[in-house]
Protein backbone atom coordinates (compact mmCIF):
# COMPACT_ATOMS: atom_id res chain seq x y z
CA UNK A 1 0.00 0.00 0.00
CA UNK A 2 2.72 2.46 0.96
CA UNK A 3 4.83 4.35 -1.51
CA UNK A 4 2.27 4.57 -4.27
CA UNK A 5 3.08 8.21 -4.74
CA UNK A 6 6.81 7.61 -4.73
CA UNK A 7 6.42 4.88 -7.34
CA UNK A 8 4.77 7.40 -9.60
CA UNK A 9 7.46 10.03 -9.23
CA UNK A 10 10.22 8.55 -11.46
CA UNK A 11 7.77 8.03 -14.30
CA UNK A 12 6.98 11.73 -14.43
CA UNK A 13 10.46 13.23 -14.35
CA UNK A 14 10.94 16.06 -16.85
CA UNK A 15 14.23 16.39 -18.69
CA UNK A 16 16.98 18.22 -16.85
CA UNK A 17 17.43 20.78 -19.61
CA UNK A 18 13.77 21.64 -19.60
CA UNK A 19 13.71 21.91 -15.84
CA UNK A 20 16.75 24.17 -15.86
CA UNK A 21 15.21 26.36 -18.51
CA UNK A 22 11.85 26.73 -16.82
CA UNK A 23 13.09 26.50 -13.27
CA UNK A 24 16.04 28.87 -13.29
CA UNK A 25 16.69 30.54 -16.62
CA UNK A 26 13.19 31.83 -17.19
CA UNK A 27 12.74 33.59 -13.85
CA UNK A 28 16.24 35.04 -13.84
CA UNK A 29 15.82 36.33 -17.38
CA UNK A 30 12.45 37.91 -16.69
CA UNK A 31 13.70 39.45 -13.46
CA UNK A 32 16.63 40.88 -15.36
CA UNK A 33 14.31 42.28 -17.99
CA UNK A 34 12.17 43.94 -15.34
CA UNK A 35 15.26 45.36 -13.66
CA UNK A 36 16.67 46.72 -16.90
CA UNK A 37 13.37 48.22 -17.94
CA UNK A 38 13.04 49.94 -14.59
CA UNK A 39 16.61 51.20 -14.78
CA UNK A 40 16.81 52.39 -18.35
CA UNK A 41 13.24 53.03 -19.43
CA UNK A 42 11.06 53.83 -16.44
CA UNK A 43 13.75 55.54 -14.35
CA UNK A 44 14.83 58.14 -16.90
CA UNK A 45 11.24 58.63 -18.02
CA UNK A 46 9.85 59.57 -14.63
CA UNK A 47 12.72 61.75 -13.41
CA UNK A 48 15.06 61.68 -10.43
CA UNK A 49 12.68 62.13 -7.53
CA UNK A 50 9.99 59.73 -8.74
CA UNK A 51 12.78 57.24 -9.45
CA UNK A 52 13.87 57.43 -5.82
CA UNK A 53 10.25 56.81 -4.83
CA UNK A 54 10.24 53.82 -7.17
CA UNK A 55 13.20 52.43 -5.24
CA UNK A 56 11.27 52.65 -1.98
CA UNK A 57 8.18 51.18 -3.60
CA UNK A 58 10.29 48.19 -4.62
CA UNK A 59 11.46 47.75 -1.04
CA UNK A 60 7.84 47.91 0.19
CA UNK A 61 6.78 45.29 -2.33
CA UNK A 62 9.54 42.96 -1.15
CA UNK A 63 8.50 43.40 2.47
CA UNK A 64 4.85 42.82 1.66
CA UNK A 65 5.55 39.73 -0.42
CA UNK A 66 7.73 38.23 2.29
CA UNK A 67 5.34 38.94 5.14
CA UNK A 68 2.54 37.49 3.06
CA UNK A 69 4.19 34.08 3.34
CA UNK A 70 3.70 34.08 7.11
CA UNK A 71 0.59 36.18 7.62
CA UNK A 72 -1.13 35.35 4.38
CA UNK A 73 -0.39 31.75 3.48
CA UNK A 74 0.19 30.32 6.91
CA UNK A 75 -2.26 32.48 8.85
CA UNK A 76 0.26 33.11 11.62
CA UNK A 77 0.48 36.67 12.73
CA UNK A 78 3.90 38.24 12.84
CA UNK A 79 3.99 41.91 13.74
CA UNK A 80 7.72 42.38 14.04
CA UNK A 81 8.65 42.01 10.43
CA UNK A 82 10.56 45.29 10.49
CA UNK A 83 12.90 43.73 13.03
CA UNK A 84 14.19 41.29 10.43
CA UNK A 85 14.26 44.07 7.88
CA UNK A 86 16.45 46.16 10.14
CA UNK A 87 18.75 43.29 11.01
CA UNK A 88 19.29 42.65 7.31
CA UNK A 89 19.83 46.35 6.71
CA UNK A 90 22.45 46.70 9.43
CA UNK A 91 24.30 43.51 8.58
CA UNK A 92 24.36 44.31 4.87
CA UNK A 93 25.33 47.91 5.46
CA UNK A 94 28.03 46.93 7.92
CA UNK A 95 29.64 44.53 5.50
CA UNK A 96 29.47 46.87 2.53
CA UNK A 97 30.58 49.98 4.36
CA UNK A 98 33.45 48.57 6.35
CA UNK A 99 34.68 46.45 3.48
CA UNK A 100 34.77 49.55 1.32
CA UNK A 101 36.35 51.68 4.02
CA UNK A 102 39.10 49.18 4.71
CA UNK A 103 40.34 49.10 1.14
CA UNK A 104 40.61 51.09 -2.01
CA UNK A 105 37.36 51.04 -3.86
CA UNK A 106 38.17 49.14 -7.02
CA UNK A 107 35.34 50.80 -8.86
CA UNK A 108 36.75 54.29 -8.63
CA UNK A 109 40.33 53.44 -7.84
CA UNK A 110 40.25 56.04 -5.08
CA UNK A 111 40.96 55.99 -1.40
CA UNK A 112 37.69 55.77 0.49
CA UNK A 113 38.20 59.11 2.18
CA UNK A 114 38.48 60.81 -1.21
CA UNK A 115 35.70 58.68 -2.60
CA UNK A 116 33.43 59.65 0.25
CA UNK A 117 34.00 63.32 -0.19
CA UNK A 118 33.37 63.46 -3.92
CA UNK A 119 30.53 61.00 -3.93
CA UNK A 120 32.32 58.55 -6.18
CA UNK A 121 30.94 55.67 -4.19
CA UNK A 122 27.72 56.23 -5.97
CA UNK A 123 29.41 54.56 -8.92
CA UNK A 124 26.18 53.28 -10.20
CA UNK A 125 24.87 56.73 -10.72
CA UNK A 126 27.61 57.78 -13.13
CA UNK A 127 26.49 54.92 -15.30
CA UNK A 128 29.97 53.90 -16.36
CA UNK A 129 30.41 50.78 -14.36
CA UNK A 130 27.15 49.11 -15.16
CA UNK A 131 27.19 45.59 -13.73
CA UNK A 132 30.95 45.62 -13.58
CA UNK A 133 31.60 47.45 -10.38
CA UNK A 134 33.06 45.33 -7.65
CA UNK A 135 30.96 47.11 -5.05
CA UNK A 136 27.69 46.01 -6.56
CA UNK A 137 28.56 42.37 -6.31
CA UNK A 138 29.75 42.95 -2.81
CA UNK A 139 26.35 44.46 -2.08
CA UNK A 140 24.64 41.34 -3.41
CA UNK A 141 26.84 39.18 -1.23
CA UNK A 142 26.26 41.42 1.78
CA UNK A 143 22.53 41.27 1.16
CA UNK A 144 22.54 37.51 1.04
CA UNK A 145 24.50 37.40 4.27
CA UNK A 146 22.04 39.92 5.77
CA UNK A 147 19.16 37.73 4.67
CA UNK A 148 20.78 34.66 6.18
CA UNK A 149 21.38 36.37 9.51
CA UNK A 150 17.77 37.57 9.56
CA UNK A 151 16.60 34.06 8.71
CA UNK A 152 18.70 32.63 11.53
CA UNK A 153 17.13 35.09 13.94
CA UNK A 154 13.76 34.13 12.55
CA UNK A 155 14.50 30.56 13.50
CA UNK A 156 15.47 31.54 17.02
CA UNK A 157 12.41 33.74 17.50
CA UNK A 158 10.00 31.47 15.68
CA UNK A 159 10.81 28.14 17.20
CA UNK A 160 9.62 28.80 20.75
CA UNK A 161 6.65 30.94 19.79
CA UNK A 162 5.31 28.99 16.83
CA UNK A 163 4.77 25.91 18.94
CA UNK A 164 2.22 27.88 20.89
CA UNK A 165 -1.14 29.38 20.03
CA UNK A 166 -1.30 32.04 17.35
CA UNK A 167 -1.46 35.16 19.51
CA UNK A 168 1.83 34.48 21.19
CA UNK A 169 3.66 34.84 17.93
CA UNK A 170 2.16 38.29 17.53
CA UNK A 171 3.37 39.45 20.88
CA UNK A 172 6.78 37.80 20.64
CA UNK A 173 7.44 39.28 17.22
CA UNK A 174 6.30 42.72 18.34
CA UNK A 175 8.69 42.36 21.24
CA UNK A 176 11.44 41.17 18.93
CA UNK A 177 11.09 44.23 16.70
CA UNK A 178 11.15 46.65 19.60
CA UNK A 179 14.03 44.89 21.30
CA UNK A 180 15.99 44.97 18.07
CA UNK A 181 15.39 48.69 17.93
CA UNK A 182 16.60 49.13 21.51
CA UNK A 183 19.69 47.02 20.88
CA UNK A 184 20.54 48.93 17.72
CA UNK A 185 20.50 52.21 19.62
CA UNK A 186 23.19 50.73 21.86
CA UNK A 187 25.68 50.11 19.08
CA UNK A 188 28.92 52.11 19.11
CA UNK A 189 29.51 55.22 16.99
CA UNK A 190 30.28 54.60 13.36
CA UNK A 191 33.93 54.68 12.32
CA UNK A 192 34.62 57.09 9.46
CA UNK A 193 38.37 57.06 9.42
CA UNK A 194 40.33 54.34 7.67
CA UNK A 195 43.27 54.38 10.08
CA UNK A 196 40.93 54.26 13.04
CA UNK A 197 39.25 51.25 11.50
CA UNK A 198 42.59 49.55 10.96
CA UNK A 199 43.41 50.08 14.62
CA UNK A 200 40.36 48.21 15.93
CA UNK A 201 40.62 44.82 17.57
CA UNK A 202 38.20 41.93 17.63
CA UNK A 203 36.89 42.99 21.03
CA UNK A 204 35.82 46.33 19.59
CA UNK A 205 33.39 44.40 17.43
CA UNK A 206 31.60 42.67 20.30
CA UNK A 207 29.34 45.67 20.22
CA UNK A 208 29.66 46.67 16.58
CA UNK A 209 30.18 50.29 15.56
CA UNK A 210 26.86 50.79 13.80
CA UNK A 211 26.18 54.37 14.74
CA UNK A 212 23.84 53.88 17.70
CA UNK A 213 20.81 56.11 17.87
CA UNK A 214 22.13 58.57 15.30
CA UNK A 215 22.04 55.95 12.59
CA UNK A 216 24.41 54.42 10.08
CA UNK A 217 25.28 56.70 7.20
CA UNK A 218 27.40 56.93 4.05
CA UNK A 219 26.53 53.41 2.95
CA UNK A 220 27.57 52.97 -0.67
CA UNK A 221 24.43 53.45 -2.76
CA UNK A 222 24.75 50.52 -5.10
CA UNK A 223 21.11 49.49 -4.96
CA UNK A 224 19.85 50.96 -8.18
CA UNK A 225 16.41 50.58 -9.68
CA UNK A 226 17.86 47.69 -11.63
CA UNK A 227 18.90 45.68 -8.59
CA UNK A 228 15.91 46.51 -6.42
CA UNK A 229 13.39 45.52 -9.06
CA UNK A 230 15.42 42.50 -10.08
CA UNK A 231 15.06 41.23 -6.54
CA UNK A 232 11.41 42.25 -6.43
CA UNK A 233 10.81 39.98 -9.40
CA UNK A 234 12.89 37.16 -7.93
CA UNK A 235 10.96 37.36 -4.67
CA UNK A 236 7.62 37.34 -6.43
CA UNK A 237 8.75 34.25 -8.33
CA UNK A 238 9.80 32.64 -5.06
CA UNK A 239 6.55 33.51 -3.35
CA UNK A 240 4.50 32.24 -6.25
CA UNK A 241 6.43 29.00 -6.43
CA UNK A 242 6.03 28.39 -2.75
CA UNK A 243 2.31 29.01 -3.07
CA UNK A 244 1.99 26.60 -5.99
CA UNK A 245 3.78 23.71 -4.33
CA UNK A 246 3.27 21.03 -1.76
CA UNK A 247 4.96 23.30 0.76
CA UNK A 248 2.51 26.06 -0.07
CA UNK A 249 -0.46 23.75 0.27
CA UNK A 250 0.85 22.66 3.64
CA UNK A 251 1.07 26.30 4.71
CA UNK A 252 -2.41 27.10 3.46
CA UNK A 253 -3.80 24.03 5.18
CA UNK A 254 -2.35 25.25 8.47
CA UNK A 255 -4.15 28.52 7.99
CA UNK A 256 -7.40 26.76 7.11
CA UNK A 257 -7.48 24.16 9.84
CA UNK A 258 -4.50 23.16 11.95
CA UNK A 259 -6.09 20.08 13.38
CA UNK A 260 -7.10 18.68 10.02
CA UNK A 261 -3.66 19.55 8.64
CA UNK A 262 -1.96 17.58 11.40
CA UNK A 263 -4.22 14.63 10.85
CA UNK A 264 -3.32 14.65 7.17
CA UNK A 265 0.33 14.32 8.07
CA UNK A 266 1.54 17.92 7.97
CA UNK A 267 4.14 18.70 10.61
CA UNK A 268 2.63 22.04 11.42
CA UNK A 269 5.38 23.36 13.67
CA UNK A 270 8.00 22.56 11.05
CA UNK A 271 6.08 24.29 8.32
CA UNK A 272 5.24 27.32 10.41
CA UNK A 273 8.89 27.71 11.26
CA UNK A 274 9.86 27.17 7.65
CA UNK A 275 7.49 29.91 6.47
CA UNK A 276 8.65 32.22 9.21
CA UNK A 277 12.33 31.69 8.48
CA UNK A 278 11.82 32.18 4.76
CA UNK A 279 9.89 35.39 5.34
CA UNK A 280 12.49 36.67 7.78
CA UNK A 281 15.28 35.92 5.34
CA UNK A 282 13.57 37.71 2.48
CA UNK A 283 12.86 40.69 4.74
CA UNK A 284 16.53 40.75 5.68
CA UNK A 285 17.50 40.77 2.02
CA UNK A 286 15.08 43.60 1.38
CA UNK A 287 16.54 45.45 4.36
CA UNK A 288 20.06 45.20 3.05
CA UNK A 289 19.01 46.48 -0.36
CA UNK A 290 17.22 49.35 1.37
CA UNK A 291 20.41 50.22 3.23
CA UNK A 292 22.16 50.51 -0.11
CA UNK A 293 19.67 52.96 -1.60
CA UNK A 294 21.49 55.99 -0.27
CA UNK A 295 19.60 56.16 3.01
CA UNK A 296 20.85 56.72 6.51
CA UNK A 297 19.52 53.69 8.36
CA UNK A 298 18.31 54.23 11.89
CA UNK A 299 17.23 51.94 14.71
CA UNK A 300 13.65 53.09 14.06
CA UNK A 301 13.62 50.87 10.98
CA UNK A 302 13.02 47.98 13.37
CA UNK A 303 10.16 49.70 15.16
CA UNK A 304 6.54 48.72 15.08
CA UNK A 305 5.50 51.59 12.79
CA UNK A 306 7.19 50.00 9.81
CA UNK A 307 5.92 46.55 10.75
CA UNK A 308 2.38 47.86 10.90
CA UNK A 309 2.73 49.46 7.52
CA UNK A 310 3.67 46.11 6.00
CA UNK A 311 0.80 44.41 7.78
CA UNK A 312 -1.54 46.93 6.23
CA UNK A 313 -0.24 46.06 2.76
CA UNK A 314 -0.85 42.39 3.40
CA UNK A 315 -4.22 42.70 5.04
CA UNK A 316 -5.65 45.14 2.54
CA UNK A 317 -4.22 43.37 -0.49
CA UNK A 318 -5.62 40.06 0.59
CA UNK A 319 -3.93 37.62 2.90
CA UNK A 320 -2.40 35.03 0.62
CA UNK A 321 -2.85 36.82 -2.69
CA UNK A 322 0.55 37.75 -4.10
CA UNK A 323 -0.81 40.06 -6.79
CA UNK A 324 -3.18 41.71 -4.32
CA UNK A 325 -0.41 42.34 -1.85
CA UNK A 326 1.96 43.67 -4.50
CA UNK A 327 -0.73 46.01 -5.74
CA UNK A 328 -1.55 47.22 -2.25
CA UNK A 329 2.13 47.83 -1.50
CA UNK A 330 2.61 49.82 -4.70
CA UNK A 331 -0.49 51.96 -4.28
CA UNK A 332 -0.06 52.56 -0.57
CA UNK A 333 3.59 53.54 -1.00
CA UNK A 334 2.92 56.00 -3.80
CA UNK A 335 -0.21 57.50 -2.26
CA UNK A 336 1.55 59.25 0.67
CA UNK A 337 3.83 60.95 -1.86
CA UNK A 338 0.79 62.30 -3.63
CA UNK A 339 -0.91 63.32 -0.39
CA UNK A 340 2.02 64.83 1.44
CA UNK A 341 -0.07 67.58 3.04
CA UNK A 342 -2.32 65.05 4.69
CA UNK A 343 0.50 62.93 6.12
CA UNK A 344 -0.82 63.51 9.62
CA UNK A 345 -4.00 61.69 8.70
CA UNK A 346 -2.40 58.90 6.70
CA UNK A 347 -2.12 56.37 9.51
CA UNK A 348 -5.56 57.29 10.80
CA UNK A 349 -7.02 56.47 7.42
CA UNK A 350 -5.03 53.22 7.33
CA UNK A 351 -6.29 52.28 10.78
CA UNK A 352 -9.89 52.95 9.82
CA UNK A 353 -9.40 50.96 6.62
CA UNK A 354 -8.08 48.01 8.64
CA UNK A 355 -11.03 48.03 11.00
CA UNK A 356 -13.55 48.50 8.23
CA UNK A 357 -11.96 45.82 6.07
CA UNK A 358 -12.23 43.27 8.85
CA UNK A 359 -15.93 43.95 9.16
CA UNK A 360 -16.79 44.23 5.48
CA UNK A 361 -14.30 42.01 3.67
CA UNK A 362 -12.37 39.99 6.24
CA UNK A 363 -10.13 38.17 3.76
CA UNK A 364 -8.76 41.38 2.27
CA UNK A 365 -9.49 42.75 -1.14
CA UNK A 366 -8.57 39.61 -3.07
CA UNK A 367 -8.58 36.98 -0.37
CA UNK A 368 -6.25 34.11 -1.05
CA UNK A 369 -6.81 34.27 -4.79
CA UNK A 370 -4.80 36.13 -7.39
CA UNK A 371 -6.25 39.05 -9.26
CA UNK A 372 -6.55 37.19 -12.56
CA UNK A 373 -8.57 34.44 -10.92
CA UNK A 374 -11.36 36.96 -10.59
CA UNK A 375 -11.61 37.26 -14.33
CA UNK A 376 -14.69 35.21 -15.12
CA UNK A 377 -13.27 33.54 -18.24
CA UNK A 378 -9.95 32.56 -16.74
CA UNK A 379 -11.65 30.99 -13.76
CA UNK A 380 -13.82 28.76 -15.87
CA UNK A 381 -10.87 27.78 -18.03
CA UNK A 382 -8.70 27.09 -15.03
CA UNK A 383 -10.99 24.56 -13.43
CA UNK A 384 -11.45 22.92 -16.79
CA UNK A 385 -7.73 22.74 -17.35
CA UNK A 386 -7.08 21.25 -13.95
CA UNK A 387 -9.28 18.28 -14.72
CA UNK A 388 -7.52 17.51 -17.96
CA UNK A 389 -3.94 17.94 -16.79
CA UNK A 390 -2.89 14.34 -16.01
Amino acid sequence: MSGELQQLVPTMMPSAARALLKGVALPVASALVLGLVMQFVVGPAIGAYPASVALQVGISVMLAVSLNIVNGYTGQFSIGHAGFFAVGAYVGAGISYYAALSGIDPASGQQPSQALSNGAWLVWNDGQNFLFSYGEWRMILASIVGGCVAAGLGYIVGLPSLRLRGDYLAIVTLGFGEITRVLLTQTKPQIFDRDELAATHAKDWVIPPMGGATGFSDIPAYASLMWVWFFVAVMIFFAYRVKQSSTGRALLSIREDEIAARSMGVNITKYKVRAFVLAAGLAGLAGSLYAHTGQVIRPQEAGFQRSFEVIIFVVLGGMGSISGVVLAAIILSILPEALRDLSEYRLIVYALLLILMMIVRPKGLFGVREIWEFWPFTRAKKSEKKVITP
Binding site: G3, E4, G23, S246, D257, R262, M264, G265, I268, V387
Partner: protein, 258 residues
Protein backbone atom coordinates in the same frame (compact mmCIF):
# COMPACT_ATOMS: atom_id res chain seq x y z
CA UNK B 1 3.76 -8.86 17.73
CA UNK B 2 0.02 -8.86 17.63
CA UNK B 3 -2.06 -10.44 14.94
CA UNK B 4 -4.07 -7.31 14.53
CA UNK B 5 -3.38 -4.46 12.16
CA UNK B 6 -4.69 -1.93 14.65
CA UNK B 7 -4.30 -3.01 18.22
CA UNK B 8 -5.68 -0.55 20.78
CA UNK B 9 -5.25 -1.74 24.34
CA UNK B 10 -6.77 -0.10 27.36
CA UNK B 11 -6.33 3.51 26.31
CA UNK B 12 -7.82 6.23 28.45
CA UNK B 13 -7.76 9.89 29.37
CA UNK B 14 -9.47 12.03 31.94
CA UNK B 15 -10.16 15.74 31.79
CA UNK B 16 -10.08 17.01 35.32
CA UNK B 17 -12.05 14.42 37.24
CA UNK B 18 -14.05 13.24 34.25
CA UNK B 19 -12.95 9.98 32.70
CA UNK B 20 -13.77 10.70 29.08
CA UNK B 21 -12.35 7.40 27.93
CA UNK B 22 -11.47 4.60 30.28
CA UNK B 23 -9.60 1.50 29.20
CA UNK B 24 -10.86 1.11 25.66
CA UNK B 25 -9.64 -1.97 23.82
CA UNK B 26 -10.28 -2.38 20.10
CA UNK B 27 -8.50 -4.85 17.86
CA UNK B 28 -8.99 -4.91 14.12
CA UNK B 29 -7.41 -7.42 11.73
CA UNK B 30 -6.37 -6.47 8.21
CA UNK B 31 -9.48 -5.85 6.17
CA UNK B 32 -11.67 -5.69 9.27
CA UNK B 33 -14.57 -3.32 9.69
CA UNK B 34 -15.20 -2.40 13.29
CA UNK B 35 -18.01 -0.25 14.64
CA UNK B 36 -17.80 2.03 17.67
CA UNK B 37 -21.19 3.05 18.99
CA UNK B 38 -22.67 4.58 22.08
CA UNK B 39 -24.98 7.34 23.22
CA UNK B 40 -23.98 11.01 22.86
CA UNK B 41 -21.07 11.87 25.09
CA UNK B 42 -20.01 8.26 25.46
CA UNK B 43 -16.43 9.13 24.50
CA UNK B 44 -16.32 7.87 20.93
CA UNK B 45 -14.71 10.93 19.38
CA UNK B 46 -12.37 11.18 22.37
CA UNK B 47 -11.26 7.64 21.57
CA UNK B 48 -10.53 8.73 18.00
CA UNK B 49 -8.59 11.72 19.23
CA UNK B 50 -6.54 9.45 21.45
CA UNK B 51 -5.81 6.97 18.70
CA UNK B 52 -4.81 9.68 16.22
CA UNK B 53 -2.67 11.50 18.75
CA UNK B 54 -4.69 14.72 19.02
CA UNK B 55 -4.81 13.93 22.75
CA UNK B 56 -2.04 12.06 24.52
CA UNK B 57 -3.19 8.79 26.07
CA UNK B 58 -2.69 8.65 29.79
CA UNK B 59 -2.80 4.86 29.83
CA UNK B 60 -2.75 1.89 27.48
CA UNK B 61 -1.11 1.53 24.10
CA UNK B 62 -1.89 1.85 20.41
CA UNK B 63 -0.05 -0.41 17.99
CA UNK B 64 -0.37 -0.05 14.26
CA UNK B 65 0.96 -2.90 12.14
CA UNK B 66 3.35 -3.87 14.90
CA UNK B 67 4.58 -0.31 15.52
CA UNK B 68 3.73 1.48 18.75
CA UNK B 69 2.27 4.85 17.81
CA UNK B 70 0.72 6.15 21.01
CA UNK B 71 3.53 8.56 21.78
CA UNK B 72 3.88 9.94 18.31
CA UNK B 73 2.53 13.32 17.25
CA UNK B 74 -0.56 13.43 15.01
CA UNK B 75 1.35 14.01 11.78
CA UNK B 76 3.70 11.13 12.55
CA UNK B 77 0.74 8.88 13.23
CA UNK B 78 -0.76 9.91 9.90
CA UNK B 79 2.50 9.02 8.23
CA UNK B 80 2.56 5.69 10.01
CA UNK B 81 -0.67 4.88 8.21
CA UNK B 82 -3.61 6.01 10.30
CA UNK B 83 -6.02 8.44 8.72
CA UNK B 84 -9.30 9.87 9.84
CA UNK B 85 -12.32 11.99 9.01
CA UNK B 86 -14.01 14.42 11.37
CA UNK B 87 -17.44 14.50 12.91
CA UNK B 88 -17.88 18.15 12.00
CA UNK B 89 -16.35 18.32 8.56
CA UNK B 90 -12.88 19.82 8.58
CA UNK B 91 -12.02 20.44 4.97
CA UNK B 92 -9.63 23.18 3.90
CA UNK B 93 -12.55 25.24 2.78
CA UNK B 94 -10.73 27.95 0.82
CA UNK B 95 -8.65 25.44 -1.12
CA UNK B 96 -9.86 23.67 -4.23
CA UNK B 97 -11.15 20.13 -4.07
CA UNK B 98 -8.07 18.97 -5.94
CA UNK B 99 -5.74 20.76 -3.55
CA UNK B 100 -7.50 19.21 -0.57
CA UNK B 101 -6.65 15.78 -1.88
CA UNK B 102 -3.18 16.77 -3.04
CA UNK B 103 -2.44 18.01 0.44
CA UNK B 104 -3.23 14.56 1.75
CA UNK B 105 -0.54 13.15 -0.58
CA UNK B 106 1.85 15.47 1.24
CA UNK B 107 2.94 12.99 3.89
CA UNK B 108 4.12 10.55 1.24
CA UNK B 109 6.29 13.12 -0.49
CA UNK B 110 9.66 14.68 0.11
CA UNK B 111 9.72 18.45 0.23
CA UNK B 112 12.73 20.70 0.20
CA UNK B 113 12.63 24.46 0.06
CA UNK B 114 15.37 24.56 -2.52
CA UNK B 115 13.54 22.14 -4.78
CA UNK B 116 10.42 24.26 -4.47
CA UNK B 117 12.21 27.50 -5.28
CA UNK B 118 14.23 26.15 -8.18
CA UNK B 119 11.63 23.68 -9.46
CA UNK B 120 14.04 20.81 -9.74
CA UNK B 121 13.05 17.84 -11.91
CA UNK B 122 12.29 15.82 -8.79
CA UNK B 123 10.01 18.51 -7.50
CA UNK B 124 8.16 18.82 -10.80
CA UNK B 125 7.77 15.05 -11.04
CA UNK B 126 6.46 14.82 -7.52
CA UNK B 127 3.93 17.59 -8.11
CA UNK B 128 2.74 15.80 -11.23
CA UNK B 129 2.54 12.52 -9.37
CA UNK B 130 0.49 14.18 -6.64
CA UNK B 131 -1.90 15.62 -9.17
CA UNK B 132 -2.24 12.27 -10.88
CA UNK B 133 -2.86 10.48 -7.60
CA UNK B 134 -5.36 13.09 -6.48
CA UNK B 135 -7.32 12.88 -9.73
CA UNK B 136 -7.32 9.12 -9.44
CA UNK B 137 -8.70 9.32 -5.91
CA UNK B 138 -11.34 11.87 -6.89
CA UNK B 139 -12.36 9.54 -9.68
CA UNK B 140 -13.05 6.75 -7.19
CA UNK B 141 -15.54 9.04 -5.46
CA UNK B 142 -16.83 10.55 -8.72
CA UNK B 143 -15.77 13.99 -7.60
CA UNK B 144 -13.48 14.61 -10.55
CA UNK B 145 -15.75 17.13 -12.21
CA UNK B 146 -15.55 19.31 -9.09
CA UNK B 147 -11.74 19.37 -8.89
CA UNK B 148 -11.37 23.11 -9.46
CA UNK B 149 -14.18 24.11 -7.12
CA UNK B 150 -13.46 25.55 -3.68
CA UNK B 151 -14.22 22.91 -1.07
CA UNK B 152 -16.62 25.19 0.79
CA UNK B 153 -18.88 25.43 -2.28
CA UNK B 154 -19.58 21.69 -2.37
CA UNK B 155 -22.93 20.30 -1.28
CA UNK B 156 -22.92 18.66 2.13
CA UNK B 157 -22.89 15.07 0.96
CA UNK B 158 -20.01 15.74 -1.41
CA UNK B 159 -18.07 17.38 1.40
CA UNK B 160 -18.44 14.22 3.48
CA UNK B 161 -17.25 12.09 0.60
CA UNK B 162 -14.40 14.45 -0.12
CA UNK B 163 -13.26 14.07 3.47
CA UNK B 164 -13.11 10.30 3.07
CA UNK B 165 -11.36 10.73 -0.24
CA UNK B 166 -8.81 13.03 1.36
CA UNK B 167 -8.24 10.60 4.20
CA UNK B 168 -7.59 7.80 1.73
CA UNK B 169 -5.10 9.86 -0.24
CA UNK B 170 -2.68 9.67 2.69
CA UNK B 171 -2.29 5.98 1.79
CA UNK B 172 -3.45 4.71 5.18
CA UNK B 173 -3.48 1.21 6.59
CA UNK B 174 -6.35 1.98 8.90
CA UNK B 175 -9.13 4.44 8.23
CA UNK B 176 -11.06 6.03 11.08
CA UNK B 177 -14.45 7.41 10.09
CA UNK B 178 -16.21 9.70 12.54
CA UNK B 179 -19.96 9.66 11.83
CA UNK B 180 -19.64 9.66 8.04
CA UNK B 181 -23.39 9.31 7.55
CA UNK B 182 -24.39 12.23 9.80
CA UNK B 183 -26.95 14.42 8.07
CA UNK B 184 -27.41 12.10 5.10
CA UNK B 185 -30.74 10.83 3.83
CA UNK B 186 -31.50 7.07 3.62
CA UNK B 187 -30.50 6.67 -0.02
CA UNK B 188 -27.25 8.56 0.52
CA UNK B 189 -26.56 6.37 3.54
CA UNK B 190 -27.06 3.28 1.48
CA UNK B 191 -24.63 4.55 -1.13
CA UNK B 192 -22.16 5.39 1.62
CA UNK B 193 -22.40 1.87 3.07
CA UNK B 194 -21.63 0.52 -0.36
CA UNK B 195 -18.63 2.74 -0.86
CA UNK B 196 -17.23 1.94 2.59
CA UNK B 197 -17.34 -1.75 1.73
CA UNK B 198 -15.82 -1.00 -1.64
CA UNK B 199 -13.02 1.10 -0.16
CA UNK B 200 -12.10 -1.69 2.18
CA UNK B 201 -11.82 -4.17 -0.66
CA UNK B 202 -10.08 -1.87 -3.07
CA UNK B 203 -7.54 -0.34 -0.71
CA UNK B 204 -7.15 -3.39 1.53
CA UNK B 205 -7.40 -1.50 4.77
CA UNK B 206 -9.07 -1.82 8.12
CA UNK B 207 -11.87 0.57 9.04
CA UNK B 208 -12.95 1.81 12.44
CA UNK B 209 -16.31 3.49 12.22
CA UNK B 210 -18.22 5.72 14.60
CA UNK B 211 -21.85 5.91 13.64
CA UNK B 212 -25.18 6.69 15.19
CA UNK B 213 -27.22 5.00 12.51
CA UNK B 214 -27.77 1.50 13.90
CA UNK B 215 -29.00 0.14 10.59
CA UNK B 216 -25.78 1.13 8.87
CA UNK B 217 -23.53 -0.18 11.60
CA UNK B 218 -25.35 -3.49 11.98
CA UNK B 219 -25.33 -3.88 8.24
CA UNK B 220 -21.65 -3.47 7.46
CA UNK B 221 -19.58 -4.00 10.62
CA UNK B 222 -18.19 -7.38 11.60
CA UNK B 223 -17.45 -6.41 15.18
CA UNK B 224 -18.96 -3.72 17.34
CA UNK B 225 -17.81 -2.05 20.56
CA UNK B 226 -20.36 -0.15 22.63
CA UNK B 227 -19.26 2.72 24.85
CA UNK B 228 -21.12 4.53 27.58
CA UNK B 229 -19.65 7.22 29.87
CA UNK B 230 -16.17 6.38 28.63
CA UNK B 231 -16.42 2.68 29.52
CA UNK B 232 -16.78 -0.27 27.19
CA UNK B 233 -20.11 -1.90 28.05
CA UNK B 234 -20.30 -4.50 25.31
CA UNK B 235 -18.21 -6.02 22.58
CA UNK B 236 -19.16 -8.54 19.94
CA UNK B 237 -20.81 -9.29 16.61
CA UNK B 238 -23.84 -7.26 15.54
CA UNK B 239 -26.32 -9.91 16.62
CA UNK B 240 -24.67 -10.30 20.03
CA UNK B 241 -24.85 -6.56 20.52
CA UNK B 242 -28.49 -6.36 19.49
CA UNK B 243 -29.43 -8.88 22.18
CA UNK B 244 -27.25 -7.44 24.91
CA UNK B 245 -29.42 -6.13 27.79
CA UNK B 246 -26.75 -3.65 28.92
CA UNK B 247 -26.73 -2.00 25.52
CA UNK B 248 -30.48 -1.71 25.47
CA UNK B 249 -30.34 -0.14 28.90
CA UNK B 250 -27.75 2.41 27.85
CA UNK B 251 -29.83 3.46 24.89
CA UNK B 252 -33.17 3.65 26.71
CA UNK B 253 -34.39 7.16 27.05
CA UNK B 254 -31.94 8.41 24.49
CA UNK B 255 -34.22 9.37 21.63
CA UNK B 256 -31.67 11.69 20.07
CA UNK B 257 -29.30 8.89 19.12
CA UNK B 258 -30.98 7.69 15.96
Amino acid sequence: MSDYLLDVRGIGISFGGLKACDGLTVQIPTGGLHGLIGPNGAGKTTAFNLITGVYRTQMGSVTLDGVKVDHLRPHEIAKAGLSRTFQNIRLFSELSVLDNVKLACHCRGRHTLLGTLLRTPRFVAQERAMTARAIEMLDVFSLQHLAGEQAKNLPYGDQRRLEICRALATEPKVLLLDEPAAGMNPSEKKALAQSIKLIREQFKLAVLLIEHDMGLVMDICEKITVLDHGCTIAHGTPSEIQNNPKVQEAYLGEPATA
